[in-house]
Amino acid sequence: MTITKREKIFNYTLLTLLAVSVLFPIVWILGVAVSPSTTGTLDLGHPQWSNFVTAWTQAGFTHFLKSSMIITGSVVVLSTVLAVMSGYAFGVLGVVGEKALFPLILLGIMIPMESIVVPLYYDFLSFHLTDTYQGIILAHVGMSVSFGTFWMRAAFRTVPAGIGESAEMDGANSWTRLWRIYLPISRPAITTLVLLSFMWTWNDYFLSLILVSDPAHQPLTLGLGAFSGRYLVKINLLAAAALLISVPVVGLYLFFQRQFIRGMLSGAVKG
């Protein structure tokens, strides 16, 4: 197919236009964040990079960061371990009653979190799990099971059965086979799962809003909400704080673009 020069120019113009319209709001916020004006007017003539530091201290982010790290770290580890085990069960070993169990687990991909959060809140309330790290971690992990199982099952199923079987002949038990054979082969899929799990947990607002009302255990996203709700908020600092929260995920996305996009497009109706 021959492409004329005009066609080429048109393509780049279109793509650039789209990219600019996506980037514009974000870049604008970046401009606001470094402007000295607290009312949100853009003033790039006098960039004030210290805004980021000021925002960090005024919003009390050191504290919220600690909560975010505890929650996200635990959720990523626990949900990945559970996903690997359940994916191995469905994808390799087979499961008693899997004709019923697998659809039951997939159901969780389609049930919106918003639908179950009300009874979940009252359950957690009676188990004294609201306003605790354990509670919010448990909630995140539970909601990650569906996608994690689906994802790791698909990954393990691409491993040729013969490899596992021959290891079995050699006397390797199921745990050894998982550890020595299936995990190393599936490392790319696990990387993607870890990244997605990190992003979903770090970015979560809704679940934390409902289950964690005590600021001492709230993650950064809620800290930002509290900061923006304050009387006489300084808009440049708010913008700076918002950008700071996005740094970890956007940074990972910079290096792992392919994994993020592939994972998120794989039919994950998840939030």
Partner: protein, 317 residues
């Protein structure tokens, strides 16, 4: 969601037909043991899932038939919470807004995504990765941040109003998110902004797997770009369209974060959505049964949409 199609093959006898009977018995008992082992591996995930997802789902159904303020004893409501929706003007508004959001969160991004995929996908674009990175970026931003961004864009002193003033259209300037008639489309456009990248990236990937002979054949038959799009590109993207419709429509139905963080459903109830009503009923002035009923309806509607879209996308294959 194509995932439903891959139901696992029944784990049964894989032993060749001619093998000795005793061996078959041994192998199948081995496989049975292995499947119990599988259950053991699954158990931790299943337990957590049952606790956090399954039990609350069932409790939600149960609660939806109760009148409960969250504190005192609940009373049986029958279908009262469901029939209550019909006479509830807030709920009606919320549903209308959902339909409106479907246009902005789903229809518009899909159309834009299809057009831009059709225009660019089959040509070699250098730096394609950079464009893709940028266009997909809104998908990885946390809603808490997206809300801050759009509040600023639509603020009285924000760039939208500055642009209007620059063109001498001062009369049109306003605080967009505080405006009774403009807050809803303003939020809608923010949703289009966020969802567009997902659609485009998926469609571009899809067009790459359409065999180029189809395009050549269309050219030979004298099809112009428009005919080519409808005869080749669109049918080739059927699966991708199904995924995107499911993702974005469900996104529109359950939208909460961006609305809550920008307008709280206001001004008045002009941007209220079912999930905002759910949140208010559940926590602000507890009518837990009604909130649970909204949750049940949301779940049922989501399941129906997912199943219908999957069915439709598979039908004519």
């Amino acid at each position: 969601m194509t995932i439903l199609r891959q139901t696992p093959p029944a784990t049964g006898d894989v032993t060749p037909a001619g093998s000795i009977r005793r061996q078959r018995v041994r192998v199948s008992s081995h496989r049975r043991r292995q499947r119990w082992l599988g259950l053991a591996y699954l158990a931790p995930a299943l337990a957590v899932y049952a606790l956090v997802v399954l039990a609350p789902t069932l409790q939600g159904v149960w609660l939806s038939f109760q009148h409960w303020d969250g504190v005192t004893a609940a009373t049986w409501a029958g279908f009262g919470n469901y029939t209550g929706f019909f006479g509830d003007p807030t709920m009606r508004q919320a549903i209308e807004h959902t339909l409106f959001f479907i246009v902005f969160f789903s229809v518009l991004p899909i159309v834009l995504g299809l057009v831009s995929a059709a225009l660019t996908a089959r040509k070699d674009v250098r730096r394609a990765g950079v464009y893709r990175w940028i266009i997909f970026l809104p998908q990885v931003l946390t809603p808490a941040v997206v809300a801050v961004v759009w509040k600023r864009i639509y603020a009285p002193q924000g760039p939208v109003n500055s642009a209007l003033r620059a063109f001498g259209l001062d009369a049109l300037t306003r605080g967009w998110l505080g405006d009774y008639s403009w807050a809803l489309p303003a939020l809608g456009l923010a949703g289009t902004w966020a969802a567009f990248g997902l659609c485009m990236v998926l469609f571009v990937a899809g067009t790459q797997s359409i065999p180029s002979e189809l395009y050549d054949a269309a050219r030979v038959d004298g099809a112009g770009p428009v005919r080519e799009f409808f005869a080749v590109t669109l049918p080739g993207l059927r699966g991708q369209v199904a995924v995107v419709v499911t993702l974005t429509v469900l996104g529109a139905i359950r939208v909460f974060d961006i609305v809550w963080l920008t307008t709280r459903g206001g001004p008045g109830t002009s941007t209220i959505t079912p999930t905002i009503v759910l949140y208010q009923r559940a926590f602000a002035n507890p009518d837990v049964g009604a909130a649970a009923a909204i949750g049940v309806v949301l779940a049922v509607v989501s399941l129906i949409i997912a199943l219908v879209v999957v069915r439709l996308s598979e039908d004519d294959k």
